[in-house]
Amino acid sequence: MIPIEVTVNGRRHREHVEERLLLSDFLRHTLGLTGTHVGCEHGVCGACTVRLDGASVRSCLLLAVQVDGAELQTVEGLATSDGLNPLQQAFRTEHALQCGFCTPGILMAASDLLERTPAPTRREIVDLLSGHLCRCTGYAPIVEAIASVAAGEESR
């Protein structure tokens, strides 16, 4: 077991982890943050995407020991005391989720895209979504929701 210290959604955690523990399992089982979903567990489905020092990453492709000292954000960290953030609100407005399994990963990746590229093209949004599998196949409203935030329609 190796001691690690990480900040998740602004809260600092000190834990001992086994070397082989995946970050996705650390978040879900050790910290109880089950908003991060685990689908394929080999980097294809995108459901487990979180932010690591700002960059969106697959939490199933990282070991927990690797994030020692880092700052993480999971889907639980998006909403504020005022309620849903603009991207989450846009998903609600556009009916951009059905079963909701893929939603946390898409929210985390899209947040990263929108910070780096405030006005992404539809092509860029679709390219981003190629890394996120939605088994309900409801991609069209997801594209609409991300595009609406990009266009500022959801800004408060």
Binding site: E19, R20, G43, L52, L61, L63, V65, D112, L128
Partner: protein
Amino acid sequence: MKPAALAYARPGSVEEAVEALEHGGEDAKVLAGGQSLVPLLNMRFTRPSLLVDVNRVEELGALAEANGGVRAGAIVRQAAFEASPLVRSRVPLAAEALPHVGHFVTRNRGTVGGSIAHADASGELPLALVTLGGRIHVTGPGGRRELAADDFFVTHFTTALQPGELVVETIWPGAPPGSGSAFEELALRAGDYALSMAACVLRLEGGRVSDASIALGAVVDRPTRIGEAEALVRGNAVDAELAREAGARAAAATDPAGGLHASAGYLRHVTALLVGRALTRAWRNALEAPA
């Protein structure tokens, strides 16, 4: 699934990494971005006794100009390489290939050196490096050595790296004046493994091709330059007929396996088209390039 039990080392320097690999023995593995290695760990296709995590070896993170081109430390993230103005201006072929590498999210973590060391025959960066005539610096218990990219890639997932060696940096030659390049790929979806891909670099003198590099990936067992197509192009001006013929020769030089999504015949058909397109665009880019 989850990785099998393993030991973990996090060296702070290349020297420490080499030491850790040496002590770890044959089963020790270098962990860079982990976008290919960790899936293999999760599925237990590989069970290294020791992972040597080089993500905090600062000296492997440099991205700098070198002789008109670019040198990239092994752990430079693919996303940083893609976004670098230096890479875009000096090595446009690599910049064009990068959006095809995995997904937006995996490029945030995946590294340039990791992609080279993994040596997937469907890898875009290995193909670009071979087409450009790039070089790879490796180090290990026997010291540092430098290999031509063409000598580095042996076959599927197999390189000239010796036990205990790791990739330190990759050298990407710059585009000389009067040259042009292009990268073409066909995949079922953005981010999927390519069915076929082609890359081309042309140098022009007096309105004709003075030097050509044409290479294929995915339909071959390693990034492979196609001498038959290069010889056809050299000394000529590229038109639709020449592009078609070069594509046909390149495709004829391959023996793809074919599979569920594409027959061998279809893969050769696509390969011919991709080579023709890459050649045509490289020619146009070269004509527009400042001499």
